[in-house]
């Protein structure tokens, strides 16, 4: 995963609240064994109904602006893969489902949380004005609008440096082994027979 510090570009003003993972990528497209190629199916249902997502003014926009509770529903990481494959590098919304936020972070999709009032201001404005999401200064800027956001420091560092979280955790291997030696739930051996 490559690191990212700043994302600059147009922001597609979707604005919708409770965009669930089925809306981001329908179950029909989960039957894949790879992470790529899902962009064509991203937001399929919304786009079929006519959506700002297909407005040529926002073609290739790297930022999506959405409403509250974005990414609720399923744990499918395909939602994040599909969004990134469609070209999004950041989302700005008042809040995310916990699993979606985790998935986004793991893949380097920057999920920024701003209050609804800030979202409302970013939703209006010329399609050709650019937004900047800056992980250095932890601000979202457009023209003379500027909003501060917060991000878990570990996540921020991983995003900026593009770190592999598994490798970081494996540095704690001795602690994991020590835990296993005394874990209460592992203190007996699990039967291996299945009821058949």
């Amino acid at each position: 995963m490559s690191g990212v510090t700043r994302i600059t570009g147009r922001a597609c003003p979707l604005g919708l609240a409770n965009v669930d993972t089925d809306m981001i990528i329908a179950a029909d497209h989960l039957k894949t064994t790879v992470r790529t190629g899902l962009g064509q199916y991203a937001f399929e249902g919304l786009r079929a109904a006519g959506s700002v997502l297909d407005d040529p003014a926002y073609a290739g926009a790297p930022i999506l602006i959405a409403g509250a509770n974005f990414g609720c529903g399923s744990s499918r990481e395909h939602a994040v893969w599909a969004m990134m494959d469609r070209g999004f590098s950041a989302v700005i919304a008042p809040g995310y489902s916990d699993i979606f936020a985790g998935n986004a972070f793991k893949n380097g999709l920057v999920a920024v949380e701003l209050p609804q009032a800030a979202i409302d201001q970013l939703m209006v404005g010329a399609p050709d004005s650019e937004i900047m999401v800056d992980l250095d200064s932890m601000t979202v800027k457009r023209g003379n609008l500027s909003f501060d956001f917060t991000l878990d420091p570990f996540r921020r560092q991983c995003l900026i440096e593009g770190l592999d979280e598994i490798a970081i955790t494996l540095r704690d291997d001795p602690a994991i082994a020590a835990y296993e030696a005394k874990a209460p739930a592992l203190g007996w051996s699990m039967g291996s027979a299945f009821a058949v």
Partner: protein, 475 residues
């Protein structure tokens, strides 16, 4: 010692390392794996030359893609899976489970079924453990007092490689349900009513502990139904303290401890309940006696109404965003405000999913069906047991005959019409009374309209061709 909640006790027991930034490395005791969210994780391991750290704590079972029609021909040979993409995912799970040596229940084994039915059924899920799965309804396992939550594919890979997750502590929320559920009112009605009260984002950032008399009175099956839908309230997970009901359910299960180990574990499990005086970040109180059989009218699980109620007017909501969402929901659902819920005609019925496909669910539905036949207006009514063992038990009790004689299709176990990754789906614009957990747009197939209901209410809808107050049929 400061009084602690059940959640805090399980959390504290599983901290491997505390990081400076407030996150903790948490040990994972049980990892359930299915075919849809794992192929990329195993690929990641291969690419990095990593192994599965604890194959013995990992249990793989296919469920989402498997067809629920007969899987063997008359001679007993396995039938091929026709959808090549489904077949590829199932083949990938098979190869990955064998290559990495994890515990595996293959398609066709008697114990195969939906991961969240199989885990408790096998005694793989135990009180006080941490349980994860690349599936949002993992919260179901919290019914046994396990801290269980859904994870994404990168986290699946992280757990496979390290048997841990880096997590921040959740906030705690108590949902206390006092009183007793009324006649004809089930665990499903209870959880739908809870979600209707706290909202689809009401539990965000929290782990919910369900407490109170009405929860204690639930069977294990009922508790699994309640905990299963915690995610539909936005919660990270749901928990119910282990008690005698839990221990009685687990004793003798194939992977549960035995002998002296069992006694030792029970003694530990008995210490897990939330201490007197422990604080929750948020508390909600609900009176069970006020809950009627509950149905959904919209496309969010929070869009609930009692069966004797009417579809609300979108303008009646205070929140402007909710007004817009409700209007969109009703347009999608082809319904209008003021319609009586009991006047909504149904064309499909689905009894199944990890929410309601256990033996008790099938018994409750069969009791309502009795000697009745499904209504002429019903195009398809499916009963899909949650596992091969549930199916076998139901057949031993003759439930399959009740369903088949009534005009239902009696299927093989799997996720089926809950999310329609296999061929089972509701056609566009048609309406389904479903015992599953999500009524999102397109969940049961593009354009499908879903009403979430209990098994008994699904049976009532099947025999009357419309959403029906099951209490009228039981009187």
């Amino acid at each position: 010692m400061t009084p602690r909640t059940l959640y805090e006790k399980i959390w504290d027991t599983h901290v491997v390392a505390r990081q400076g930034d407030g996150t903790c490395l948490i040990y994972i005791d049980r990892h359930l794996v299915h075919e849809v969210t794992s192929p990329q994780a195993f690929e990641g391991l291969r690419a990095a030359g990593r192994r599965v750290r604890r194959p013995d704590l990992t249990l793989a079972v296919p469920d989402h893609n498997v067809p629920t029609t007969r899987r063997t021909d008359a001679a007993g040979n396995r039938l091929p899976i026709t959808d090549p993409a489904s077949a590829a995912q199932l083949a990938a799970l098979d190869a990955n489970a064998r290559d990495f040596g994890v515990r595996y229940i293959p398609d066709g084994a008697a114990a195969q079924g939906i991961v969240h039915v199989v885990g408790p059924e096998q005694g793989f899920t135990l009180p006080g453990t941490t349980v994860v799965c690349g599936d949002s309804h993992t919260a179901a396992h919290g019914a046994l007092g396990a801290l269980a939550f859904g994870i994404g594919t990168s986290e699946v890979e992280h757990v496979l490689a390290t048997q841990t997750l880096r997590l921040t502590p959740a906030k705690t929320m108590e949902v206390r349900v006092d009183g007793a559920l009324g006649f004809g009112v089930s665990a499903k009605d209870l959880i739908l009513a809870i979600i209707g009260t706290i909202g689809a984002a009401g539990g965000n950032g929290h782990v919910i502990e369900y407490r109170g008399e009405a929860i204690r009175a639930l069977s294990m099956e009922g508790r699994l139904t309640v905990a299963n839908m915690s995610i539909e309230a936005g919660a990270r997970s749901g928990l119910i303290a282990p008690d005698e009901t839990t221990f009685a359910y687990l004793k003798g299960r194939p992977m549960a401890p035995t002998g002296a180990d069992w006694d030792k574990m029970v003694a530990w499990w008995q210490t897990l309940a939330t201490d007197e005086g422990a604080c929750f970040d948020k508390s909600v109180m609900i009176d069970a006696s006020t809950i009627a059989p509950t149905v959904t009218w919209g496309t969010s699980p929070e869009d609930t109404a009692p069966i004797d109620g009417v579809i609300p007017d979108p303008d009646s909501f205070d929140d402007p965003a909710k007004r817009v969402a409700a209007a969109q929901s009703l347009a999608y659902m082809g319904l209008s405000a003021g319609t009586r819920m009991a006047d909504v005609a149904i064309e499909h019925v689905f009894i199944g999913s990890c929410t309601n496909s256990r033996i008790e669910d099938l018994r409750a539905a069969a009791a309502v069906v009795g000697t009745r036949h499904i209504h002429a207006g019903i195009k398809q009514a499916l009963v899909v047991p949650g596992s091969g063992l549930v199916k076998r038990q139901a057949e031993a009790e003759g439930l399959d005959r009740i369903f088949i004689d009534a005009g239902f299709e009696w299927r093989e176990p799997g996720c089926s019409m809950c999310l329609s990754m296999n061929p089972d789906r509701v056609p566009p614009g048609e309406r389904c009374a479903s015992t599953s957990n999500r009524n999102f747009q397109g969940r049961q197939g593009p354009g499908a309209r879903t009403h979430l209901v209990s098994p008994a209410m699904a049976a009532a809808a099947a025999v009357s061709g419309r959403l029906t107050d099951v209490r009228e049929l039981m009187a």
